[in-house]
């Protein structure tokens, strides 16, 4: 009796968490579409990176094949990671306004404020990945790894970003202002994305840097994305990517919720 009741309660609770998360994700997406400058920023910046690397630096980088084919999977992963910074910025922005007190006075699931923000930002990132692929195809990028890989690539990119959304949510909940959350996200994401195989083969880096770049989760993510696009061995990179994602999420998701509760 007591057990069935408990199960029923847990089931109701889980249902509210899912519904509240969807509601908050809807709110965040509506707000995103209201700030075109944000959407422009998150798409224009990666497009500039593509053009910069393909046409300016690309000629000097030797990858043993088409540099554009090498670059696009990397820059897609970089873009979704930069996109996660918005999770922290948005959360810090909400926390600095009275709106969190409104949420707190409602009988909603507390974790839905963070989960809804992550979900909304993931949907936005999915759109951005679409734009990036279109730009990539326009500058000469082609899939050589089959249809399944091509379809899997955007989903993998979004999946890979989950861990960083929660990491950024934690920094956002710790920050007093949207500006400082922005700086924090930049300081974390910038080295992670550049000390990796996203733009150049790790083998071309100085010897002391290579172990760092090789063990960077970004490198596993980029290598997985590259294998999806171009074919080639994938298992090891995919498994290590998943391990990193699960590990980082397991640490930062509870930390983010805890920090949010403390801050609000």
């Amino acid at each position: 009796m007591a057990v069935t009741e408990l199960v029923a309660n847990l089931r109701a609770e889980a249902r509210w968490i899912v519904q509240d998360t969807t509601t908050m994700a809807w709110r965040n997406l509506v707000v995103t579409t209201r700030s075109p400058e944000l959407l422009t920023f998150v798409t224009i910046q990666p497009i500039m990176f593509v053009l910069l690397f393909v046409y300016v630096f690309g000629g000097a980088i030797q990858t043993g094949g088409s540099y554009t084919d090498f670059l696009i999977p990397g820059i897609i992963i970089q873009t979704v990671l930069f996109g996660t910074g918005q999770t922290g910025v948005g959360l810090a922005d909400d926390l600095s306004k009275g709106i969190v007190d409104r949420y707190r006075s409602l009988p909603m699931a507390r974790s839905a404020v963070i989960a809804g923000r992550v979900l909304g930002d993931m949907v936005r990132n999915f759109f951005v990945v679409g734009v990036m692929l279109a730009v990539g195809l326009a500058v000469g990028f082609r899939f050589h790894g089959g249809v399944a890989g091509a379809i899997a690539l955007p989903f993998f990119a979004i999946f890979f970003s989950i861990a960083f959304h929660f990491m950024m949510a934690y920094f956002g909940a710790r920050s007093k202002t949207a500006e400082s959350a922005n700086v924090a996200s930049f300081l974390v994401i910038f080295p992670i994305t550049f000390l990796s195989s996203a733009f150049v083969p790790v083998a071309t880096m100085p010897g002391w840097l290579q172990p760092i770049a090789k063990s960077n989760p970004m490198t596993y993510g980029v290598n997985t994305a590259r294998s999806l696009a171009q074919g080639g061995p994938i298992t090891e990179d995919l498994l290590l990517s998943i391990a990193w994602i699960v590990g980082i999420t397991a640490v930062f998701a509870p930390l983010a919720v805890y920090q949010y509760r403390r801050a609000s």
Partner: protein, 330 residues
């Protein structure tokens, strides 16, 4: 629930932030359907009390119930029967008025259809239909407050907390909002309203609790409180500075209390009983004392006078005195 328990029941609640005592042993009760005005200057502890009662923060000691639910322990139940509006709540600037209300309704777990219907009703009730599909950032201060109040009413709360609902509004918007609040109370909602406007508490509240530096210092109806400040005031403005002392001497004869003098406008104020009967006498005696008067007026005491009588300070002085209010806090 039984009617014997007050809808809002606060027992010996204190709240400390480090060494700062934001609330000190506050007890109060509000019966169902009544409206209590919590009157005090900035930083007196009003917002802290509202946050405790709406389950946003926990008291350091003491306990409080709202509709029988413990605000520190039964937070989910408390949140499903209260509404919170005013400076400690807010609207989402990037959503339209309608979307704001739908969002809140959805977070109360109403269905999509119900949420839309309720949002429409509230936009109508709060005279926001025309602006309902514009983002809230385009709203005037008064419209924003009305939307905020509407959001707090989405789930038809039994108990409503209004935290300085009209602070910063122009007199007209304030009057409009007062009308809305009066309607709510007619419908049976129990309301706790905080304000630093003395006339606001007078206008809206059945009973008034005066709070100063975290402690309740007086409680009663508006007229009970006014009696503590004397029944009426007569103010005389002398034409010349050197006539102030002569005026004070005359006025002293009409009151048991010492007249108050404001030097800069040469005004002498004294509290009296049955002022209208005394006016003619005061004019005669001032005349025979050779005092030229530029202004003479009689007025009912305001709650400002109450605050002065209770604390020896005006509410404004207190607010300026501790610039660090509770409002920016935690």
């Amino acid at each position: 629930m039984t009617t014997s328990v007050p809808t809002i029941d606060v027992r010996n609640v204190s709240k400390r932030y480090g060494k700062i005592e934001a609330l000190n042993d506050v007890s109060l009760q509000v019966e169902q359907g009544a409206i209590l005005g919590m009157l005090g200057p900035n930083g007196a502890g009003k917002t802290t009390l509202v946050k405790i009662l709406s389950s946003l923060i926990k008291p350091s000691s003491g306990y409080a119930t709202v509709a029988g639910y413990d605000v520190a322990k039964q937070t989910r139940q408390v949140r499903s029967i209260i509404g919170l509006a005013g400076q400690s709540a807010a609207v989402d600037e990037n959503l339209t008025g309608r979307e704001n209300l739908v969002l809140v309704a959805r977070l109360y777990h109403m269905s999509r259809g119900e949420s839309r219907t309720r949002a429409g009703e509230l936009l109508e009730q709060f005279n926001l239909v025309e602006s309902g599909d514009r983002t809230a950032k385009t709203y005037s201060g008064g419209m924003r407050r009305r939307l905020d109040l509407a959001a707090s009413l989405v789930a038809r709360p039994q108990v409503l907390f209004l935290d300085e609902p009209t602070t910063g509004l122009d007199p007209r918007s304030r009057n409009d909002l007062w009308d809305v609040i009066r309607e709510l109370v007619k419908a049976g909602t129990t309301v706790l309203l905080t304000t630093q406007y003395l006339d606001e508490a007078d206008q809206l509240a059945d009973r008034i609790s005066v709070i100063d530096r975290g402690s309740l210092i007086a409680e009663g109806t508006a007229s009970e409180l006014k009696q503590r400040a004397g029944s009426e005031f007569i103010a005389v403005q002398a034409q010349e500075h050197d006539q102030i002392s002569k005026t004070v001497e005359v006025m002293r004869r009409f009151s048991t209390e010492e007249p108050a003098v404001t030097e800069h406008d040469r005004r002498i104020t004294v509290s009296v009983t049955d002022g209208s009967a005394l006016l003619a006498g005061i004019v005669r005696e001032l005349d025979s004392a050779g005092v030229a008067v530029t202004d003479l007026s009689m007025r009912q005491p305001t709650l400002d006078d109450v605050f002065l009588a209770l604390t020896g300070r005006t509410a404004e002085e207190t607010a300026e005195g501790d610039g660090e209010g509770e409002d920016g806090g935690d």
